[in-house]
Structures are given as structure tokens and as C-alpha cells.
């Protein structure tokens, strides 16, 4: 037993690094009470080490801690995405006025960010229903506190409360679904055991449908899919921008990793022969991908249509991130390796452009004190570099070449057409056109409108520009030279226990 635990621990290094880093961050915070600025550095080092360990895991495929968690390229990919996001968010925090104005609480901020990253790492790797719930809760509890971090601002507390209420409800629904599934499969908790039980026995299709719908409700809440999205705009608006950016990328990535793993491993039918290469089939009589297709259409359509009416840029980006979850769900619908690869590619791209957009919102908010679209009027003259970067992120979010966003959408639509999901591809294309309108509205304000009020140039420091450049360059480069991400995504498709 000791041997097995030690062997598992050797495969558990990224998570161990984060757990140790969490404890260290707290201890350092207490010991050096007068200088809380060192704690983010500890967190930064810890997360970097964790990402480095995750990179080492890209080749392995193992099940650790008696089947609770799996270590495979798929999990490693998401750990790298989540870890990179966490590192960038910690860098953003250095220049966040919201975070820096409450410097006494920097210890809690950094350590909770590490705890949240740990929860998401576990989400990416969990292959057991219990582990799934536990890791969702770890992520959730840390993010509820962080959403209300600026407790002096009433909307931040409101965001936190709304988040926790929706979170409790959706976890409750998910647990109910899990309990039904547990009963249906005769006590299976591991995804692969669920698959065996479902493939072998005759299970009531209605009960299975109800259980899956309830579990989709829990996971849909994490990825903010319509109709489980109600918390998203309020939480994104109320939380500090750094946390909003983290939730919109990392939380969504972890949710997607869990959704894809759960549905693929639990409901794959490995006995079907004669499928084209790269495709797989769902268990008979249970087409969960049709549910996801409906969810996808609802999510992107509602996200885009409501985003058109937003005047607060944080709210606009919140609805845009809902819409992006809808696009990514399209890749899950098609039941092919190409579809999943497209989702992975999209996540790399989404990380860059979405974090970039939120970073600029944060910088401008620190200078002008407003997140309103009107306060961006004439920004192109006041701060040309920032504005051009914003344009690049926005046209990337809209999916226009030659930016990385175009590549992400291209692979998604290619996977859809490959699997003959023509109608879904058309809905997705129409949605991209709608999204162009509200992104361009901000761009128009920046370049075609005269500034209201202050006309003086806004200056930014060199490190602030450096962080921006880290995000802008790949957004442009991956638009033209995209084979590295495609190769990475294709190499990250294999999951433990699946051919």
C-alpha cells in the first residue's frame, strides 16, 4: 500500500507542488507580515514549478490513487493551459488597482489563487465521480471568496453571493444526477466502470437521460453554458478584473476538460466497427451529443445577442465568453478526435485573446476609473499602442484572419463539416457575424470618435507593455504559423483507458 501511494505520488507532482505552495504562501504571509508583496512571488514560483511538472507529464498515461485521478496527455494539456493562465493572472495582479489597493489581503488573494489552480488541476485529471465533485468544490469555494475580494465594493459582495448560491444549486443538481447514475450502474464510480456497466446491462434510457441532464447542469454551470449562465454577467462585472479573467479562461478550461472526459470515457461504445478514422460512437440509444448540440446553439446565440446591448465592457466580455463556450461546445458535439482537437486548439487561442482583452480593460480602468464603452471614445489617440492591441484581440475574438482566433474557428468548423453537422456550422457562422458587430462597436469608439473630457495621452509603464506584448505577439503569430498548437493539440488527445 505504501509502495502504491508513493508511486501515485510520483505522478502527482504538479498537484503536490501547488498544495505545498499554498501552505508556504500562507506561512510566508504570516511570517513576513509587513511585506505581503512577497507572497505573490511565492505563488508565482509554485505555479511555475507545477506547470513544469505538468509539462513532464505529457507523455505518461497512468491511473493513480486507486483510480481516483488519471495522468494522461489530455489532462496535462489542460493543466498547462490552466497553469499558464494562473501565471499571467498573477502578473496582471501586480498592476491591478483593485488588488493593490487592498494590499493587506494580498496573502489571501495569492494563496486562494493557488488553491483554485489546484482545484482546476484536479478537475482536469479526475476520473471518478467523487473526485469530480470534490475538485469542483475546491475550485468553487476558492473562487467564491476571490469573486468577493474587494469587499468594500458592494457589487463585489453581490457577485460573490450570487456565485455561491448558483454554485450550491448546480452542485446539488449534479450530485443528484450522480446518485441516479450510481444506482443505475450498480455502484460504479469510476468513469470506465460506468462505461462497462452501461455497455453490459440494460439501463432505463429515461433514467440515464435524467441523470446526464443533471450532470450537464453541474458542468454547464462551470463553463457558463445557457441556460446555466445566469451568474456569469453579474459575477464577471462585480469581481476584480484579474479574477474575472481567470474565471473566464481557466475555470472554463477545467469545466471543458471534465465534460469531455466524463462523456467520452463513460459513454463511448468501443464495440462499434466501421467508423471513419478518428471518429467514435456513443452508446446505443443515448445520444448525449444532441443535448450538447442544443446547449451549444442556445449558448452562442444568447451570448452574442445579449452582448450586443451591453455598455459595460466587462459585461460585454462576459457575454462574449458565454458565446465562446458555445463555439467550443460545437467541437464536443461531433464525436471525433478532430472535434476535440479543435476544442484544445481553441483553448490556447482563447487564453491569449481573452486574457489580453481583460488585461486592457484592467489597465484602462485603472487610469480612467471606468469600464464603460463610452470612456473608450478617442482612446486610439490617447493611447495608440494599447488601442491597436485591443483591436487585435477583438478581431481575434471575432475570428477574423490573420489572427489566432480565425485558426481556432477554422478548425472547429472543419471538424463540424467533416462530421456532416452542416446546420450547426451555419448557426455558428451566423453567430460569428453577430459577434463582429459588438466588437467593432468598441473599436469604432476608440478610433472614430473624439474623446469626451480628458484628451491627454495615457501613459503606461514598460513592464505593463511587456505583459501586453507577451499576449499580442502569439495572437498574431499563431494566426499565420499555427502548426505548433495543432501538433500539441493532436498529441494531447489520448486519454487514459481509451484506445
Amino acid at each position: 500500500m505504501v509502495d502504491q501511494a508513493l508511486r501515485s505520488l510520483a505522478q502527482f507532482l504538479p498537484e503536490t507542488a501547488l498544495a505545498v505552495c499554498f501552505c508556504l504562501a500562507i506561512l510566508v504571509g504570516i511570517i513576513f507580515r509587513r511585506r505581503p508583496q512577497i507572497v505573490p512571488v511565492v505563488a508565482l514560483v509554485g505555479i511555475t514549478v507545477a506547470v513544469w511538472f505538468a509539462i513532464q507529464q505529457t507523455g505518461s498515461s497512468e491511473s493513480v490513487f486507486s483510480g481516483m485521478i488519471v495522468v494522461d496527455p489530455f489532462a496535462a494539456f489542460f493543466k498547462i493551459v490552466i497553469g499558464t493562465t494562473a501565471i499571467l493572472i498573477l502578473l496582471f495582479s501586480i498592476y491591478s488597482s483593485e488588488v493593490q489597493s487592498t494590499i493587506k489581503r494580498l496573502v489571501e488573494y495569492s494563496s486562494l489563487l493557488v488553491a483554485m489552480t489546484l482545484g482546476m488541476f484536479l478537475m482536469a485529471g479526475s476520473a471518478n465521480l467523487l473526485m469530480m465533485v470534490l475538485s469542483i468544490e475546491l475550485t468553487g469555494l476558492s473562487s467564491y471568496v476571490l469573486a468577493g475580494y474587494t469587499k468594500e465594493a458592494p457589487d463585489s459582495s453581490e457577485a460573490s453571493l450570487k456565485y455561491i448560491i448558483y454554485g450550491a444549486l448546480s452542485t446539488g443538481l449534479m450530485l443528484y444526477g450522480i446518485s441516479i447514475l450510481f444506482g443505475l450502474t450498480g455502484g460504479a464510480l469510476e468513469f470506465s466502470d460506468i462505461n462497462k456497466a452501461l455497455a453490459g446491462g440494460s439501463v432505463s434510457p429515461l433514467a440515464l437521460l435524467v441523470a446526464s441532464l443533471l450532470i450537464i447542469a453541474g458542468l454547464g454551470y462551470k463553463i457558463s453554458a445557457v441556460p446555466f449562465h445566469f451568474w456569469t454577467p453579474d459575477v464577471y462585472e462585480g469581481a476584480p478584473v484579474t479574477i474575472t479573467a481567470f474565471l473566464s479562461v481557466a475555470s472554463k478550461a477545467a469545466g471543458f476538460a471534465m465534460l469531455i472526459r466524463f462523456f467520452k470515457v463513460s459513454f463511448i461504445d468501443s464495440n462499434v466497427v466501421g467508423l471513419p478514422a478518428g471518429f467514435w460512437a456513443s452508446l446505443q440509444d443515448f445520444e448525449w451529443n444532441k443535448i450538447v448540440a442544443i446547449l451549444s446553439v442556445l449558448t452562442m446565440t444568447l451570448g452574442n445577442l445579449v452582448a450586443v446591448w451591453q455598455n459595460n465592457l466587462k459585461r460585454l466580455l462576459a457575454y462574449s465568453s458565454i458565446a465562446h463556450a458555445g463555439y467550443m461546445l460545437m467541437g464536443v458535439v461531433v464525436l471525433s478526435d478532430k472535434g476535440i482537437a479543435a476544442v484544445l486548439i481553441y483553448f490556447v487561442v482563447y487564453l491569449l485573446m481573452n486574457l489580453g482583452a481583460f488585461y486592457i480593460v484592467m489597465l484602462i480602468e485603472a487610469k480612467t476609473g471606468s469600464e464603460d464603452i463610452d470612456s473608450y471614445k478617442g482612446l486610439g489617440y490617447r493611447s495608440p499602442f494599447i488601442s491597436v492591441a485591443m483591436v487585435i484581440f477583438f478581431i481575434s475574438l471575432a475570428g477574423i484572419p490573420p489572427t489566432a482566433g480565425f485558426i481556432g474557428k477554422l478548425f472547429l468548423f472543419a471538424a463540424l463539416l467533416d462530421a456532416k453537422w452542416i446546420w450547426l456550422a451555419i448557426v455558428g457562422a451566423i453567430n460569428s457575424v453577430i459577434s463582429l458587430y459588438y466588437y467593432v462597436r468598441v473599436v469604432r469608439n476608440m478610433f472614430l470618435r473624439d474623446p469626451e473630457g480628458a484628451k491627454t495621452p495615457i501613459a503606461f509603464s514598460l513592464p505593463q507593455f511587456a505583459i501586453l506584448v507577451i499576449l499580442v505577439i502569439p495572437t498574431l503569430v499563431f494566426g499565420l504559423y499555427y502548426s505548433p498548437i495543432v501538433e500539441l493539440a493532436n498529441a494531447s488527445l489520448s486519454m487514459f483507458g481509451l484506445p
Binding site: M1, V2, A5, I26, L27, I30, R33
Partner: protein, 118 residues
């Protein structure tokens, strides 16, 4: 079979009789000078019937949360203590890690001043 329970019944019956006799004897022999204060449920405690809509200090909440935390620690320690020999070194290391993590938490709570009432 049932005869074996007779001593228990005797003890219970004796207990009930002894209790009633002592209370009645006290009432009959003892001096009684009742006042309002003496007749209240908790003579030197809080009022038993009050409005429930009262504001409590948030400090009670902190104490309750900390209590639950260390209560759960004990819940985990008990089964470990019972199965200590079977679990061996692996169990010992696991519990040490667990307790160290909790100690870091306690240290944090302490230095943050959550254990001070004022």
C-alpha cells in the same frame, strides 16, 4: 432467561423511589423562602424566554467555524487511532501530513488574531 434482568429492574426501581423520596423530603423538611429571582429557570443565567430576533456578534460565527474545523480533525483522528497498528507507517505519515496542514491553518488563524475575543 428474564430472571437475569431482575437485579437491573431492582436498581431502576430503587433509583426512581430514591429520587422521588429525596425531592419530597426536601420539600417537606427544608425551609422555603421563594423570590422571583429564585423561581426563574436559570437563576444566575440568561432569560429563558426572549425574542429570537436578536443580533449576535459575528465573533460567535468565527468560533463556530473553528470548532467545526477541529471537530472534523478529531473525527479523522479517532478511526486512525483505532486502526493504528494495521495502518502502520503509511497511516502515520498520512496523518502527520494532515495534522501539519491543519497546524499551518491554526497558526494562520492565531496570527490573524481570530482567536482573540476583543
Amino acid at each position: 432467561m428474564l430472571e437475569t434482568y431482575i437485579p437491573i429492574f431492582v436498581v431502576i426501581a430503587g433509583g426512581i423511589v430514591f429520587g422521588i423520596v429525596m425531592v419530597k423530603l426536601n420539600e417537606w423538611l427544608g425551609p422555603r423562602r421563594p423570590t422571583d429571582e429564585k423561581l426563574s429557570t436559570y437563576e444566575s443565567g440568561m432569560e429563558p424566554v426572549r425574542t429570537a430576533r436578536e443580533r449576535f456578534s459575528v465573533k460567535f460565527y468565527m468560533v463556530a467555524v473553528l470548532f467545526i474545523l477541529f471537530d472534523i480533525e478529531v473525527v479523522f483522528l479517532y478511526p486512525w487511532a483505532v486502526a493504528f497498528k494495521e495502518l502502520g507507517v503509511a497511516g502515520y505519515i498520512t496523518m502527520t501530513v494532515f495534522i501539519v496542514i491543519l497546524l499551518i491553518g491554526l497558526f494562520y488563524v492565531w496570527r490573524k488574531g481570530a482567536l482573540e475575543w476583543d
